[in-house]
């Protein structure tokens, strides 16, 4: 049995002596040879062929893995082998978030007792489930076999959950044109103004500009420029990234521009997300004139003006309440 000699032997008599300590390894180099006997040997032989078998007891129970004797009675088992699984159901599980050197996987995994289909006892093995949230009693699992099998319990590298979810790719490309009304609105955006449409019959200013009134259906004859300042009516804090937003979290808000009667949806920036509030006064932040195109990207976002909050309870200034 190899034992290494102690390393740090003090040589200076005045120094406090370090405690003597030696590394000592207990090992059977190459492993310890064990006979399997006929019952366990049959199980391991089947395992090498990627089959899982149990053995039937006199009481008609199927033991998996097979034992030589029925643990309930001590009687010899019948010698009748039954293929079980390979799928099974997790009964009990424990989650290892930091695998140890001797563990079967080098990433977080679960130990589990698994009742294989057709078995009356449970197999203790490993489930590679990704995260503990994927584990539950009742989870259906199947073995993942090693590429090379040798007749060893670890021929099953681990069990993995049955397929319950797939990811379906969806992608289509289009060429879209904005239409007459939006083109007109974007012309205004290019020039640094918000163009609205006024319905005289309804006495409502719609922003963005439209060519007909969504309320009465009549043709909108009159353009109205509205201010680039407004009031946050309501808002949402978004935590999922969006290519149109500069960062996460970002705030998208319904902003009622001064002079308009319906709010427009836009980003709010220049303020921490949790400080955005209903009634907050905001102003559009434009990109420099030389960078402007016919695109809403001309407006980075709306930022607080610093004015006192507006009172939303009084209804909309334009009378749209």
């Amino acid at each position: 049995m190899p034992s290494d000699a102690p390393t740090d032997v003090p040589t200076d008599a005045r120094a406090v002596p370090e405690p003597l300590e030696a590394r000592h390894v207990l090992e059977f180099p190459g492993g310890y040879t064990r006979s399997t006997g006929p019952v366990i040997g049959r199980f391991l032989t089947e395992l090498r062929d990627r089959r899982i078998v149990g053995v039937r007891t006199a009481a008609e129970r199927v033991l998996v893995p097979p034992l030589e004797y029925d643990p309930a009675t001590g009687e010899s088992v019948t010698g009748e082998y039954v293929e079980v699984g390979p799928a099974g159901t997790v009964e009990t599980w424990a989650w290892v978030s930091a695998p140890r050197p001797g563990h079967p996987l080098d990433r977080p995994f679960a130990w589990a007792t698994i009742r294989l289909d057709g078995a009356d006892t449970s197999l203790v093995h490993v489930v590679d489930a990704g995260g503990s949230r994927a584990m539950r009693t009742g989870l259906r699992v199947r073995p993942r076999w090693r590429t090379e099998t040798s007749g060893h319990i670890t021929d099953i590298e681990c069990f993995v959950p049955e397929v319950t979810v797939i990811t379906a790719p969806v992608r289509a490309e289009y060429r879209v044109r904005p239409g007459r009304a939006l083109t007109r609105f974007l012309e205004g955006i290019r020039d640094g103004v918000f163009v609205g449409g006024y319905c005289a019959g309804c006495d409502q200013v719609y922003v963005p500009y439209r060519i007909s009134c969504p309320a009465c259906g009549s043709v909108i004859e009159e353009e109205r420029e509205v201010a680039d300042t407004g009031t946050v009516e309501t808002f949402a804090i978004n935590n999922l990234p969006d290519p149109r937003a500069p960062e996460v979290p970002f705030v998208s808000a319904y902003i009622l521009l001064d002079g308009a009667d319906i709010p427009m949806i836009a980003l709010v920036g220049g303020i921490p997300a949790h400080e955005v509030r209903q009634g907050m006064r905001v102003r559009a932040v434009w990109v420099p004139p030389e960078e402007r195109t016919m695109s809403m990207t001309n407006i980075r976002w709306f930022a607080p003006t610093g004015e006192p909050d507006a009172d939303l309870s009084a209804g909309r200034p334009g009378g749209g309440d």
Binding site: L26, R34, P71, W93, P104, W111, T121
Partner: protein, 350 residues
């Protein structure tokens, strides 16, 4: 059955680290102590419990005999188990009737190796050990099968550690805190600490027991039962073997003032309490139990010693000690200890 009693008990001040003593050096003072207490220098029988894998040395229990002085040759035996099971063997040996005293001891230094991995070596070598299933992982499977209430588990640890702080032989461990998992659902504090230590007990039969102790702790019943080894063949949420052992030892035949249980993981207390059908009023692990000091291979014997001590010093009249072996409470030994007045045969004892 021949009346056999515990007349002396000694244990080390257990440590959470290696103090630099060999096992025999660690053991020697407790042997000295029970010799002083009883005045006996030799014993009719000697039996010890230890595990060679803890130190990684073959026949380390033979080296430990140096702590006794085994010359001229003594009648001696050993179990590769906790010292509590050595006590069972000594009790059986005393039933033969030809000797009146026995020395029992257990010892272990868990600090030397990696206990979690060493305990893998006790598992079935075909189906379990090759998976690398370690001690905390299989205990976590049992905890998950039980599904014990987190508040109740925390309270078991809090109470055990508080009692341990009051026990000069146990470790000083703080109240449990933190919400990380060692292996989910076990938190680090649910697990008994790595501990080095040793313990010794002297058994005496008949008149010798009354000569050696004013108030001997009579073994009113002692029994052990075992379950299948393979975890998938058992209902891990229950311990039928502990229940059977408790019935065979007669736990339910009288009130139980104190129970010392071999609880190495907090959930085991819930399982054992139910299996032993302990009444509400029973004080569990007043020593702090293994959750406050777990010198493996002495821990179960210390349960017997701690239970006996409360009868020897008159604080309890009837006590229960439990010791366990194997994964997930596979093998359980239950001992009922009684003061003379409590035992049915007590009247004969004068």
């Amino acid at each position: 059955m021949r009346e056999v009693a515990i007349v002396a008990f000694a244990q080390t001040v257990h440590t959470g680290h290696d103090t630099g003593l060999t096992e025999a050096e660690m053991l020697h003072p407790v042997i000295e102590e029970v010799r002083r207490t009883t005045g006996l220098t030799t014993f009719g029988f000697t039996c010890s419990g230890s595990c060679d894998y803890l130190a990684g040395a073959p026949f380390s229990f033979v080296s430990a005999l140096d702590a006794l002085g085994a010359w001229p040759p003594i009648s001696e035996s050993h179990v590769e188990m906790d010292g509590a099971f050595a006590l069972y063997e000594a009790w059986v040996r005393l039933q033969h009737g030809d000797i009146d005293s026995a020395l029992v001891y257990g010892f272990g230094k868990s600090s030397t190796g990696d206990l979690r991995q060493i305990m893998t070596l006790q598992l079935d070598p075909y189906y379990l050990a090759p998976l690398g299933l370690d001690q905390v992982s299989y205990a976590a499977l049992q905890a998950a099968a039980l599904g014990g209430d987190r508040g109740a588990l925390d309270e078991i640890v809090r109470r055990s550690r508080a009692d341990g702080r009051a026990n000069p032989h146990a470790l000083d461990l703080p109240d449990p805190s933190g919400d990380g998992y060692e292996v989910e659902p076990l938190r680090p504090y649910d697990i008994a600490p790595i501990t080095d230590g040793a313990a010794a007990v002297v058994l005496a039969a008949g008149d010798l027991a009354r000569e050696l102790a004013e108030n001997p702790a009579y073994i009113g019943g002692i029994a052990h039962r075992i379950e299948p080894h393979y975890l998938g063949m058992r209902d891990l949420a229950r311990s039928p073997s502990a229940a059977d052992a408790a019935r065979a030892a007669g736990v339910g035949k009288g009130p139980v003032d104190v129970a010392e249980l071999h609880v190495q993981f907090s959930h085991e207390e819930i399982i054992l309490r139910e299996a032993l059908e302990l009444p509400e009023g029973t004080v569990i692990n007043p020593s702090g139990g293994p959750l406050a000091a777990n010198p493996v291979m002495a821990t179960g014997l210390i349960r017997v010693g701690e239970a006996a001590r409360r009868i020897l010093d008159g604080r309890a009249r009837r006590a229960v000690a439990h010791a366990s072996s194997g994964p997930c409470l596979q093998h359980n030994l239950v001992t009922v200890l009684e003061s003379a007045a409590e035992s049915p045969e007590g009247a004969d004892r004068g």
